[in-house]
């Protein structure tokens, strides 16, 4: 019955099949093979990535829960915990953008409330091909509508995020979603099954045939038949999830649960085997008891279904009626489908008859782990070489400072994302104190004086040019964005989007990126508490840029000390922390003006980065700065322009120096204006704070320099004394505001 074709269809290699037979001591039946195939899929087993992920720093006094549970958790004072994680839903979103994105949001929300936390904020990190490429608008509209449709309905605000457009994401858009919740630290609950004989309950939506083999799909490359995989994408029901969320949080208040886990990838299979494995126990269920949406479903289909909005619970003995009563109140019906056993096995029955019997450890801890071969990609040497002297004679050299700035502001990656975040309810729960578009998202924590800041960042272009440095820069930028609000970065979560790990070049990129993340997280004091790996992001053999996306969460001791990125008053002094080093490699400028993806990304000194972040947090606490904006995509000129936007037209004048890179004035000026040197922040402050701020910077060994003043209605920047940029804020802001929106304007009478 099980031949090589069946194995291939399940994505199980002949070697893996031999191991399966070894674990069972016999040939598996089809249901068992299905169970193994999803649990051993890349998506669930992390078989290619695990050896690398083990090297990440995961500990710190603030960490209450590191990787391995449904989500990580950190101590945020007052006996409270912040619970957060990021997850990808790339493959489903390509096939069916609305449902793919919606169910991604649903999944990450479940991960958070499964831990006993009330979800209070969402972020997302999206990647698409160029906005004018065929299909991009449809994908972007669908993904945004899906995120909005789910998050708005369930009532969790989407408070920030990022969107980048690059041709490499054609055919492989990235949809990474982040959720954060809060809980009493003492109320955190785990996904464990223990206590022999305890009841195992199923609650939530009925099981259908949707999403069967979703995890396997997410572990394969795409080709031109991928659209036919649509039935493997699940359909979301945010109303059902809202009921589940409220009911589960109510049940958790009763202390009647041993453990709880959501059914995400690999559905019932994953939740039963993982809960058993964590609790050192076994789980036995009867699939005929599972509520079903369709008739005639086989045990195979029931075990592998990825129908959304379902939870598995283990209840303390004698507390069952209490739990059932709460679910009844919410018109949900908790159904007892099995019990906890003592033999460490996953045992599945169908009307009493045994249909699968597998040791849990074979599905979890002892799933295959690969140390895949690695080799630096051949393209690297070529793309890292950037000959600046060529720039002087290239067509881009004729683009002056004003035109380059307006071009960058109109580049969809840099342009205002208002068209997107206006579709997300970003204010529900009345906690949002830094709105989307203002840097990191910030939510206050009711009942305390504190607030939490969060940011997701990643630059695939940097990682393509140097995966290790690119990943370090992603960590640094996310933490810097959080610090710019005045919040002290606490911990991180990562979403690692890469191509096919069976290619040595991809595996090398992955290993380099993990190394970079580890180094940066360690140096910046933000341990990784969880995350997600998404491999096989390839279509027709073409991989995306390696794209590690980092989410960082930080704590503001005093919510009312929050700082936003925009200038506040005319006549304030503008100070630049950090130094421009005339770096143009990998910049948005090179791409937009010269159509070049070339060079090495900006250098990063982690000690300097940390000192900079600590300085800006301390200054915010003392309310010495009125605004703070991280300097990244588009360099200092774009940063200054953005500081002027949404301020009803406060302009600025600044004067900076250029390095002597090439002997060509044009290129030197461009490097000073648009170079993306790391570890820089632009702050504005009142005149009387200048001396103190500069002293504090000097004491912290952070380079700091007054570069100008706010006021007027133009942005004027002189480089080496020569006026290089002089644009009206109105015009610049129009360009920046309209770039994305204008692609979607519809005339409706």
């Amino acid at each position: 019955m099980i031949d090589s074709k069946v194995l291939e269809r399940h994505g199980v290699t002949p070697e893996e099949y031999v191991r399966i037979v070894g674990f069972l001591g016999r040939e598996p039946n089809l249901t068992e093979l299905g169970i193994f195939s999803v649990m051993w899929s890349e998506h669930c087993s992390y078989k290619s990535s695990r050896v690398h992920l083990r090297t990440l720093p995961t500990e710190g006094p603030q960490v209450l829960q590191g990787p391995g549970e449904n989500a990580g958790a950190v101590d945020i004072g007052d006996g409270m915990a912040a619970v957060f994680k990021i997850e990808s839903h790339n493959h489903p979103s390509f096939i069916e953008p609305y449902q793919g994105a919606a169910t991604g949001v649903g999944g990450i929300i479940r991960d958070i409330f499964t831990m006993g936390a009330r979800p209070i904020a969402l972020l997302n990190s999206l990647r698409f091909a160029s906005l004018d490429a065929p299909g991009t608008r449809r994908l972007l509209e669908g993904v945004v509508a899906g995120i909005a449709g789910y998050g708005n309905s369930i009532g969790i605000p989407t408070v920030g995020g990022e969107i980048v457009f690059e041709p490499c994401y054609a055919g492989n858009p990235l949809v990474n979603v982040f959720c954060l919740g809060t809980a009493k630290a003492s109320d955190l609950i785990k996904g464990v099954a223990s206590g022999v004989g305890n009841a195992v309950y199923y609650v939530g939506a009925k099981t259908g045939r949707d999403g069967i083999h979703g995890a396997t799909m997410a572990s394969a490359e795409f080709d031109d038949t991928s659209a036919e995989k649509r039935p493997a994408v699940q359909v979301g029901d945010p109303f059902m999830e809202k009921l589940l969320l409220e009911a589960c949080l109510e049940v958790m208040q009763t202390d009647a649960l041993i453990g709880i886990q959501d059914m995400g990838a690999a559905g019932l299979t994953c939740s039963t085997s993982e809960m058993g494995s964590r609790g050192g126990a076994g789980v036995e269920i009867d699939v005929s008891l599972v509520p079903q949406r369709e008739s005639g479903m086989t045990p195979y289909e029931i075990m592998l279904s990825e129908s959304q909005e379902r939870m598995l619970l283990v209840v303390k003995p004698g507390r069952e009626p209490e739990v059932e009563r709460i679910f009844d109140k919410w018109d949900l019906h908790a159904v007892r489908i099995g019990r906890v056993t003592d033999d460490g096995r996953l045992r599945v029955r169908d009307r009493g008859q045994l249909v699968a019997d597998i040791p849990n450890r074979a599905l979890t801890d002892e799933a295959p782990v690969y140390r895949r071969p690695m080799a630096p990609p051949e393209y690297l040497a070529g793309v890292q070489r950037l000959d600046l002297s060529v720039l002087a004679s290239a067509p881009g050299a004729r683009v002056d400072g004003n035109a380059a700035l307006l071009g960058l502001l109109g580049s969809p990656t840099i342009a205002s994302k208002r068209w997107v975040y206006r579709q997300y309810d970003h204010m529900v729960r009345t906690n949002t104190i830094n709105m989307p578009g203002m840097g990191a998202g910030v939510v206050r924590i009711k009942g305390t004086s504190r607030a939490l800041a969060m940011s997701v960042d990643g630059n695939g272009r940097y990682s393509y040019l140097d995966p290790r440095l690119g990943a370090m820069l992603a960590v640094a930028e996310a933490a810097r964005n959080v610090a710019c609000t005045g919040a002290r970065p606490l911990a991180a979560t990562n979403c690692l989007n890469f191509g096919n790990p069976e290619r040595p070049a991809i595996m090398w990129q992955f290993a380099q990126a993990v190394e970079g993340i580890g180094a940066a997280c360690l140096a910046l004091g933000v341990p990784i508490t969880g995350g997600n790996v998404s491999l096989y992001n390839e279509t027709d053999g073409k991989a995306i840029y390696p794209t590690p996306v980092i989410g960082v969460v930080g704590l503001l001791e005093h919510a009312d000390c929050v700082v936003s990125s925009r200038f506040k008053e005319s006549g304030d002094v503008v100070v630049l922390f950090g130094e421009g080093r005339s770096e143009l490699g990998g910049s948005e400028y090179l791409k937009v003006v010269y159509d070049l993806v070339q060079g090495v990304p900006p250098a990063l000194d982690l000690e300097r980065e940390r000192a900079l972040q600590e300085l800006v947090v301390a200054l915010a606490e003392e309310q010495l700065v009125r605004s703070a904006h991280d300097c990244s995509d588009g360099g200092l000129a774009v940063t200054l322009a953005e500081c002027c936007f949404d301020t009803a037209g406060i302009g600025a004048e600044a004067s900076i120096d250029a390095g002597d890179l090439t002997g060509d004035r044009h290129v030197n000026e461009a490097a000073a204006l648009f170079g993306e040197s790391a570890s820089r922040i632009v702050v504005s402050l009142s005149e009387d704070a200048v001396t103190r701020v500069l002293e504090r910077a000097a004491a912290a060994a952070v380079p700091a320099r007054v570069i100008g003043r706010t006021g007027g209605n133009r942005l004027r920047i002189a480089v080496n004394g020569r006026l290089a940029i002089d644009v009206s804020i109105d015009e610049a802001e129009r360009r920046w505001s309209a770039a994305i929106e204008s692609h979607f304007v519809r005339k409706i009478a």
């Binding site: 708005n152 309905s153 009532g155 109303f239 809202k242 204010m427 009345t430 519809r746």
Partner: protein
């Protein structure tokens, strides 16, 4: 005084209304489950925003059948102040406590942002603390806030001064064509953002006053709406009306 915040399955601004009443205004507040049949002595009833029953059928169409709605209706008939915010407004329309209907926003997209509304009438329990012509900056967050009434009904609404909030520019101006004004975020007929019942005690509005009650959240203009009801209950004007 006591605020009742009705909780339907799928309500998601219930906690926000509760927080505003209790923590910001310092009043008593209680959640009332939609299956209950008792308003528990409340002085004012809020139907909060959200997606009651998922809004899968038509916004508010299922919620009107919840047992508590009979009590809300009776309370309204006695002259008690009832405020429907966003989805709560949609439910009041479906329940027939307010006239008209909601269509999908022009542009067909959900919109969340701050808008400006002008107080048109101050003789309702939810606008009496404001001044006629006063402009409030309050957030919206909805996909179906395009208020519609047929011409006859619309004329009656305007004649009876039942339009109490209208979308305007930041200075309180309405453009030449209020239906297509750039300040009108959803295409509502006559730029209508909020209306009251003929007896004036039942009010529905699409903007979220509870989201604009604290300076930390970016503005306190919404407090005028909630302060109004506290003031009107205190002054006893409502009792006279009932």
């Amino acid at each position: 005084m006591k605020f009742a915040v009705i909780v339907f399955p799928g309500s998601n601004c219930d906690e926000d209304a509760y927080h505003a009443a209790k923590d910001v205004l310092g009043q008593t507040a209680e959640y009332i489950w939609h299956k209950d049949a008792d308003l528990k002595g409340a002085d004012v009833v809020i139907l909060p925003g959200g997606f009651a029953h998922g809004d899968y059928l038509r916004t508010g169409a299922m919620a009107r059948f919840s047992p508590i709605m009979r009590e809300v209706q009776a309370f309204a008939e006695r002259g008690g102040p009832v405020l429907g915010i966003c989805n709560g407004f949609q439910i009041l329309l479906e329940a027939g406590l307010l006239p008209g209907a909601m269509l999908r926003n022009k542009g067909l997209k959900y919109r969340c942002e701050h808008v400006h509304v002008r107080i048109e009438q101050t003789d309702t329990p939810f606008t009496c603390a404001g001044k006629a012509g006063q402009v409030l900056r309050i957030p919206i967050g909805h996909g179906e806030g395009n208020y519609f009434a047929p011409p006859d009904m619309l004329r009656t609404l305007e004649e009876n001064r039942q339009v109490i909030l209208r979308y305007t520019d930041p200075e309180g101006r309405v453009g030449a064509d209020p239906n297509a004004d750039e300040w009108n975020p959803n295409g509502s007929v006559n730029g209508i953002a909020g209306i009251c019942s003929q007896a004036r005690n039942v009010v529905g509005m699409m903007p979220h006053p509870e989201r604009a009650c604290e300076a930390l959240l970016g503005g306190v203009d919404g407090k005028v709406i909630l302060d109004s009801v506290v003031q009107s209950i205190r002054s006893g004007t409502l009792v006279a009306r009932a």
